[in-house]
Amino acid sequence: MTNADDMPVLRMQGICKRYPGVAALTDVRLDVHAGEVHVLMGENGAGKSTLMKILSGATRRDAGDIFVDGRPADIRTPRHARTLGISIIYQELNLIPHLSVAENISLGHAPRTPLGQVLGIVDRRALRARATQLLGELGVDIDPATPVRELGLAQQQMVEIAKALADHARILIMDEPTSALTGVEVEQLFAAVQRLTARGTAIVYISHRMEEVFRIGHRVTVLRDGRYVDTLPIADASIPRLVKLMANRELTDHYPRRAAVRGAEILRVDRLSRRGILHDVSFTLHAGEVLGLAGLVGAGRTELARAIVGADRADGGHVTIKGRPADRRSPRAVIASGLGFLPEDRKQHGLVLGLSVQKNIALPNASRLAWCGVVRGRDERAQASRWIDELRIKTPSGDQHALHLSGGNQQKVVLAKWLAGRADIFIFDEPTRGIDLAARWDIYALMNRLVEQGAGVLMISSELPEVLGMSDRILVMRQGRVCAELHGADRTEARVLQAALGVAS
């Protein structure tokens, strides 16, 4: 589908971007041809997002040239990028929930009735027709009159793509589009992607999932530490080669789980219930074990975690922490008894992005670092330095705002919060979601170390290989209930899936 002799529809070269204290991009280049799926790979913090922000006009480059169809394009604003035919679909979708699918698709340039050209009256029939046509081109069946809020995530994504098509997008950027999709939905997305490339649309596709890269990619460009590494046709790529390019080191074993000595019971959850969400959930967690919690999205795993830490009220049931009944009226008491919670959404729930790394680490234990209510700056700084070193958090200093760190490093800051707070029971909700390989490795190694030191870890994960690879025991949840507990040789992909889907073996 790609022809190397063609003029690339997009060429970026010599792109540089600095943030205070960090060089986000240094002399990066990217060529994209019409009709190709060009995969952009790299660890978190490699500069993928920054490069795409520059391309879509969300941020400005410090240096470098961009050519669209061979003509220089000094992209200044998102609007400017769109007029050049460049559209981006973010992980967080940008639709207006109470407007209909058709209205969202034509947002900003709705067709007008003849009289409405002057008065601004929208031609509802044309609006619908355009939506129907564009959705048809994508091969999806959604009623254009449906309000967007009633759609699932996958359908909303299709609406976003249709919206980009309505903008006459010729270069479509997709940032980890499959991260929240189920298997069937992923297939639908890929089918739509193929229809798009067949009509000549160029797609810049960011993903961490190797299997996807090989399924739909034509060429792949790898970035590392803000620099261009290589571009290769997918036929020349292999998983080990890509991993080596990204990480500059070979990762052989993804799941370095080492068994530790199972100790005393440290957390007991007894018939925990929340109307319509959790039903009589009971389990125990022991010192020295990683307890995996598997299940489909929406099975109630995050809700269970939040009920245990006291973030949400439960209607019934008990939680016992180290033999003492837990006071779950607020997270405060639960945390004081030694529990650390790594939330699924680290930006919304894990960090105060506007505070420095150092202050974030001190959040749960500022009182311990204080004398008569005055925080001892030296101790706080020493604590931050210690954990920045130990967890290898990439930051110019503890004074850097958490906002400026990459996803993996932000996650490590959340971890440091709890480690500095001396927690010994951990609830990790999707600890490696959206995190690059090296940071993942660090987090797995840390989990090993924690359980060896006698902590217990409850790990919620939607990635089956991770659950299977890291857990000593696996709980499976379905529709708010624990429907299976798997030990030893029972811990197989098939058994977990059967339980999660509720199908007989």
Partner: protein, 321 residues
């Protein structure tokens, strides 16, 4: 890999750069007025400006805490009035000065705490809770004073406004002392730290084990306390407590805070900025008076300055992002 021991220079510059900018604005304003009128740069006029600014500056201390915590307090002006008439009537009833002042401060603090409880336990938006308190406190002040000013106090109390130490008026010294103390609280204590954290991300703060509700309630208590403090100085200066005092003080305090670089979205801001902001407003008013500009035009100018300051701030922030 070893992190730097001291704050990174670029981060430190970026942080203080905002304040330097506001300070430069203040200096430029002073230079302009110096050039325009010979009366501006005299010791007596400058001390006069500082003294006049002190009331707004004290109210702005509490407002800064509230706005950093991502809230707003519209009731400060009415609390100034209520605390003032309580103080005035206590003094006239022959209470000892310290006791009368303590009563006024207590009333102000309680009003603030009620705001806090309505916002945390009652889950009201701060705008609504304090809008209600604005009306309630004003009404209580008018009821208590039966709509009339309470005037004429003994000399020991008036010393709070008229007294001078080394030639510096007492209100200026009190304000300076308050700012030093409040700055320390905000920058160095757990309370200050949590004020920023709650304003920056309340849910993450809660999930980090911070007792969000008590802290938030206390923050509004601080605002009420500061309003009452301003009432003490105001009453001493005017030698009169008026139930109609303090109208529009909330807007002056918000303006001072915002000119000083505190974001209404919460999570950032400093008292140094708020102080500079209050001084800019004070110098501007004084200068316009000296130049004989009518009070109608003054309102326009001040409005333009507030908008201009925030416009510049927003533009600078966008360029940094």
């Amino acid at each position: 890999m070893t992190p730097v021991a001291a704050p990174h220079w670029s981060a430190r510059l970026a942080r203080s750069g905002r304040q330097l900018g506001t300070l430069a604005g203040l200096v430029a304003l002073c230079l302009l007025l110096w050039a325009l009128t010979p009366f501006f740069l005299t010791t007596s006029n400058l001390l006069n400006v500082l003294e006049q600014t002190s009331i707004n500056a004290i109210v702005a201390v509490g407002m800064t805490f509230v706005i950093i915590s991502s809230g707003i307090d519209l009731s400060v002006g009415s609390i100034v009035a209520l605390a003032g008439v309580i103080l005035g009537s206590a003094l006239q009833a022959g209470w000892p000065v310290p006791l009368a002042i303590a009563a006024a401060l207590a009333v102000g603090t309680v009003c603030g705490l009620v705001n806090g409880v309505l916002i945390t336990a009652g889950r009201l938006p701060p705008f609504i809770a304090t809008l209600g308190m604005m009306s309630v406190a004003r009404g209580l002040a008018l009821m208590y004073a039966e709509g009339r000013p309470i005037s004429g106090f003994a000399e020991p109390f008036r010393q709070l406004a008229t007294g001078r130490v080394l030639g510096i008026p007492a209100p200026v010294l009190i304000t300076a002392g308050l700012y030093v103390f409040a700055h320390f609280v905000l920058a160095r204590t757990v309370f200050g730290r949590y004020t920023y954290a709650i304003g920056g991300n309340e849910e993450a703060s809660r999930l980090s084990g911070i007792a969000v509700r008590p802290y938030k309630t206390a923050i509004y208590g601080v605002s009420g306390l500061m309003s009452a403090g301003a009432a003490v100085i105001l009453t001493a200066r005017l030698n009169s407590a008026q139930p109609t005092a303090g109208v529009m003080y909330e807007l002056d305090a918000i303006a001072a805070t915002v000119i000083g670089g505190t974001s209404l979205l919460g999570g950032e801001g400093t008292l140094v900025g708020a102080l500079i902001g209050a001084l800019i407003m004070g110098v501007l008013r004084n200068g316009l008076n000296l130049l004989g500009v009518s009070s109608f035009v003054q309102q326009v100018v001040i409005g333009v300055v507030i908008i201009g300051a925030v416009l510049i701030d927003t533009a600078l922030k966008r360029r940094r992002a």
